[in-house]
C-alpha cells in the first residue's frame, strides 16, 4: 500500500470522530436551548407554531409582491391568528411537494392550486371536500362566484376548491409603436386582429415601426408559453387534445398542423417574431420597445408597469374562432389539503384566510388576474381598472388544460406538447415531424395506468 492511500484512509476517521462529537453537541445544545424550535418540530414531527394558519403558494414576481400585501393585511386584521406563509417554485416542483407533504400528513392548512390540477389532486385523495355549511358560515356561497369558475371547482357534486381568479393568455401591445404603425382606433385601442392575415399584417407594420421585431413570445426553455399559444388557436378551431380523463389522445392532425404551420410562419418564415428567445429575453424585448406585441399570460403586467413601457392589453387575437372565442387560461384556486385529524378549528382558520384573500380580490386583480369573486368583479372599482378589465371577457371563454392525471399547469402534458411546439417555432423541426413526435409522447402518457 502506498503512502498516499494511507494518508487518505487514516486521516478520515480522526476527522469524522471530532466533527461527529462537535455536531452531536451542537444538535443537543440546539434542541435544549430552542425547545420547540423549527428544528425540534421537524425532528419529532410536531407543529411549528400551533394555532396558526399554514399557507403555501407558488407566486413569484408581481404576484408574489401582491400576495405578500394581502397576507400582511390578513395578519393585521386577524392578529389572534398567526400565519406561516411559504412560497415554493412554480410548476411540478410545487405540486410534488404539496402531494408529498399531504401524503406525509403534514400539509399546509390552505394552499394555492391551479384549477387544472384540482381533478388529479381529488382523485389522488389529497383534498378535503368543503362542507356547504362551513362555506356559508364564512359567507362564501356559490352565487358570489363567477359561475364557470365555481363549476370547475365541483367534483362529483362536492366543492374541493375556492376559485380566486382566471388568468388567460392575452396580447400586450406597445401603444407608441402601434400608434406609429396605424394599428389603433380613434379611442387609442387596438383594432381587432381577427384573422390570420390581419395579425400578420399588424405584426409586419409593428416590425417596421419598432425597427426590430413585430411581436415576441418566449420560445426556448419555456414549454408553458408554447403550449398556451398553441392551445389558444387550436381551441379556436374547435380542437381537443385528450378525452376520457386522458386515456385517449384525440388530437386532430389537420387542425394541429394548421396552427403549427401558422406559428412557424410567424417566427421562422416571416421573421416577424424571434425564433430564439427565452422567457426573460422576451420580456426584455417588449419592455425596451423592441417589439410591438408580446404574448403571455396577463401576470406580466406588473413588469411592464415597473419598466414604464407604454403599453396596453387586450384579448389574445381571435385568429380562427370566428363567432366563438376561445383562449387558453387557468384559474388559481385555494384548497384545503386532506389531513387525517379532521380538526374543525383548523378548517375554520383556513376558511378565514380564504375569505380574507377573496375580499382583497381588487389588490389581486391589479396584477392582471380576472377575479372570480363577484362582489369585486362586478364592482365599479374593478371596471375602471385599466387595462386589466379590457380582457375580463376571456374568463368566460377560458379553455383549461384537458383533465388527465399527467396534465394541468406546469405538468408533463404541458412539457410534452410545449416542447414539440417550441421546436417548430425555433425552426428545429418541421410541423409534421413535431406533430408525430408529440402524438407518440402523448400516447405513452395516455397508455400509462393512472397512479391515482
Amino acid at each position: 500500500m502506498s503512502r498516499q492511500d494511507q494518508f487518505v484512509r487514516s486521516s478520515m476517521p480522526a476527522m469524522s470522530r471530532r466533527s461527529f462529537l462537535q455536531g452531536a453537541l451542537a444538535v443537543a445544545g440546539g434542541l435544549t436551548v430552542a425547545g420547540c424550535s423549527t428544528l425540534g418540530a421537524g425532528l419529532v414531527g410536531s407543529e411549528v407554531a400551533p394555532g396558526t394558519v399554514d399557507y403555501w403558494d407558488l407566486f413569484g414576481g408581481g404576484d408574489g409582491v401582491r400576495m405578500q400585501q394581502m397576507l400582511d393585511h390578513f395578519r393585521q386584521t386577524n392578529p389572534q391568528l398567526g400565519l406561516q406563509a411559504v412560497t415554493l417554485q412554480w410548476g411540478n416542483p410545487y405540486y410534488t411537494k404539496l402531494a408529498l407533504a399531504t401524503v406525509g400528513d403534514q400539509p399546509p392548512d390552505v394552499a394555492v392550486s391551479h384549477l387544472s390540477r384540482v381533478p388529479t389532486l381529488v382523485s389522488a385523495g389529497l383534498l378535503q371536500p368543503l362542507e356547504p355549511s362551513d362555506l356559508e358560515a364564512h359567507g362564501m356561497t356559490p352565487d358570489k362566484f363567477s359561475q364557470r369558475a365555481w363549476e370547475g371547482c365541483q367534483v362529483d357534486g362536492k366543492t374541493y376548491a375556492i376559485p380566486l381568479d382566471t388568468h388567460p393568455f392575452v396580447l400586450f401591445y406597445n401603444t407608441d409603436i402601434c400608434k406609429k404603425a396605424g394599428l389603433l382606433d380613434a379611442g387609442n385601442q387596438l383594432k381587432p386582429l381577427n384573422s390570420p392575415d390581419l395579425l400578420i399584417d399588424a405584426l409586419t407594420k409593428a416590425k417596421q415601426a419598432s425597427g426590430q421585431w413585430g411581436g415576441v413570445a418566449a420560445v426556448n426553455g419555456d414549454t408553458a408559453t408554447n403550449w398556451r399559444m398553441f392551445q389558444s388557436w387550436y381551441a379556436q378551431l374547435g380542437g381537443e387534445v385528450l378525452k376520457n380523463d386522458g386515456t385517449e389522445v384525440v388530437l386532430d392532425d389537420a387542425k394541429a398542423l394548421q396552427v403549427l404551420e401558422y406559428l412557424k410562419k410567424l417566427s421562422v418564415d416571416s421573421k416577424l417574431m424571434p425564433s430564439s428567445v427565452d422567457y426573460q429575453g422576451a420580456v426584455a424585448l417588449f419592455a425596451s420597445g423592441k417589439a410591438g406585441f408580446y404574448m403571455q399570460g396577463e401576470w406580466e403586467i406588473t413588469t411592464f408597469q415597473t419598466a414604464k413601457t407604454p403599453f396596453s392589453m387586450t384579448l389574445f387575437p381571435n385568429v380562427y374562432g370566428g363567432d366563438t372565442y376561445a383562449v387558453q387560461a387557468d384559474r388559481h384556486t385555494l384548497i384545503v389539503p386532506h389531513r387525517s385529524d379532521g380538526d374543525q378549528k383548523r378548517t375554520d382558520r383556513g376558511l378565514t384566510l380564504i375569505r380574507s384573500l377573496l375580499d382583497q380580490s381588487l389588490t389581486w386583480a391589479k396584477g392582471g388576474h380576472v377575479p372570480a369573486w363577484l362582489p369585486v368583479r362586478d364592482s365599479a372599482d374593478y371596471k375602471s381598472l385599466r387595462p386589466q378589465s379590457n380582457y375580463a371577457a376571456a374568463a368566460d371563454a377560458a379553455v383549461l388544460d384537458p383533465p388527465a392525471w399527467y396534465s394541468g399547469s406546469g405538468s408533463n402534458f404541458e412539457i410534452v406538447v410545449g416542447s414539440a411546439v417550441a421546436t417548430v417555432r425555433s425552426g428545429q423541426t418541421q410541423p409534421e415531424a413535431a406533430l408525430k413526435q408529440l402524438k407518440q409522447d402523448l400516447q405513452v402518457l395516455a397508455d400509462t395506468p393512472p397512479p391515482t
Binding site: S2, D5, F7, T96, A99, G221, S419, A422
Partner: protein, 310 residues
C-alpha cells in the same frame, strides 16, 4: 554515489499487520453496531423494499403495494425512450466531466506543487469552489450563462464570437453544465493529487536531475508512475460521482430544454414523486443501480489492469 533504482511502491509497503489478539473481533462488533443498525434501517431495508415495490403498480397516494405486475415495470422502462435517453444523458455527462476532472486536476496540482511559499494560496483557490453548496454554484453559473447579458456571452461577444445559448440550446446545455461542474469539483481531485505529489520523495527528482533527466522526463518517469494509486482512486471516485449527477441539472435546467439534460436520477425523481408512480420509479432505480454497478466494476478493472502493466 552508486546508482539507485527507484523503489516501486510495493517495496515500501509495511509488513502485514500481526494477528489480532483473540476476542477483539467481538468488541469491534459492538463498536460497529450503531452503524450497522442505521445502515440496515436506512440503506439495506429501503433497498429491499424498493426491490419488492418494483414488481408492483405502487402509487405514492395509495396505501399498500398495489397490483402485482411481475416484470411489467421493467419491460416498460426498457422500452421507454425517456428512460434510455436519460440514462444516456447521465453517461454523456460522465464522459464530458471525468477526463477534464482527472487531467486538469493533475495539471493544476503539478503547477501548484512547483510553487514555493504561495502554494497555500493555490491550494485554497482551487479547493474553494468545492465547498460551495450545489444551489450556490448553480446560481452563480446560471448568471454567467444568462443569454445576451451574462458574463460568458459578454466576453465572447467582445472578442467577436457569437455566443451559444448556453443553457437554452439542447446541444450546448449539457456541455455548459459540464463546464460549471468541472470548475466546481476540480478542487477535490486537485487536493488528492497534491497530497500524492508531496509524498513523492524529493531525492528521486534530485537523482533524476543528476542523471540528466529534464522536467518533462521527470514528470513522465517519476511523478505519473508514483501517482498511479492516486489516479486510480481519483478516476473511480470521479466516475461514481459523475454518474450520481442530479443537483446542478435539476436547479439549472430542470432537465430541459426539451429533456435534453435530464439525467437518470431526475427521471427516477420525476416518475416517482411528480407522477406519483413509485412502483415504476423503484424498477427504474433498480435498473440504474445495475448500470452504475457494471460501469464502476468495468472501470475499476480497466484501471487496475493498466496500472499493473504500467
Amino acid at each position: 554515489m552508486t546508482t539507485q533504482t527507484i523503489p516501486r511502491s510495493e517495496t515500501v509497503e509495511p509488513a502485514a499487520p500481526a494477528q489480532r489478539p483473540r476476542g477483539q473481533g467481538r468488541q469491534a462488533w459492538w463498536f460497529l453496531a450503531p452503524f450497522l443498525v442505521l445502515y440496515a434501517l436506512f440503506v439495506i431495508g429501503p433497498m429491499l423494499y424498493a426491490l419488492v415495490m418494483s414488481f408492483f403498480n405502487s402509487s405514492m397516494v395509495r396505501p399498500g403495494l398495489g397490483d402485482f405486475l411481475g416484470f411489467r415495470n421493467y419491460s416498460e422502462a426498457l422500452s421507454s425512450n425517456a428512460f434510455w435517453s436519460s440514462l444516456w444523458h447521465t453517461i454523456w455527462f460522465t464522459i464530458l466531466t471525468t477526463p477534464p476532472l482527472v487531467i486538469l486536476a493533475f495539471v493544476f496540482a503539478l503547477l501548484a506543487d512547483r510553487m514555493g511559499r504561495s502554494r497555500w494560496f493555490f491550494r485554497f483557490a482551487f479547493f474553494a469552489p468545492y465547498v460551495l453548496p450545489s444551489a450556490v454554484m448553480a446560481l452563480i453559473w446560471t448568471w454567467i450563462y444568462t443569454p445576451a447579458i451574462g458574463l460568458a456571452s459578454d466576453w465572447l461577444t467582445r472578442i467577436g464570437v457569437t455566443p451559444p445559448v448556453w443553457l437554452g440550446d439542447p446541444k450546448w446545455a449539457m456541455i455548459s453544465i459540464a463546464i460549471a461542474t468541472v470548475w466546481w469539483t476540480l478542487g477535490f481531485n486537485f487536493v488528492l493529487y497534491l497530497a500524492g505529489m508531496q509524498d513523492i520523495p524529493r531525492d528521486l527528482y534530485e537523482a533524476a536531475s543528476i542523471d540528466g533527466a529534464g522536467p518533462m522526463k521527470q514528470i513522465t518517469s517519476i511523478t505519473i508512475p508514483m501517482l498511479g494509486r492516486t489516479t486510480t482512486l481519483v478516476a473511480v471516485l470521479q466516475v461514481i460521482a459523475s454518474l450520481k449527477i442530479f443537483d446542478q441539472i435539476f436547479i439549472m435546467t430542470q432537465g430541459g430544454p426539451d429533456f435534453s439534460t435530464r439525467p437518470a436520477l431526475e427521471y427516477i425523481y420525476d416518475v416517482s414523486f411528480t407522477d406519483l408512480r413509485t412502483g415504476y420509479g423503484a424498477a427504474v432505480s433498480m435498473l440504474f443501480f445495475v448500470v452504475v454497478l457494471i460501469v464502476s466494476f468495468a472501470w475499476l478493472m480497466i484501471v487496475r489492469r493498466q496500472e499493473r502493466s504500467a
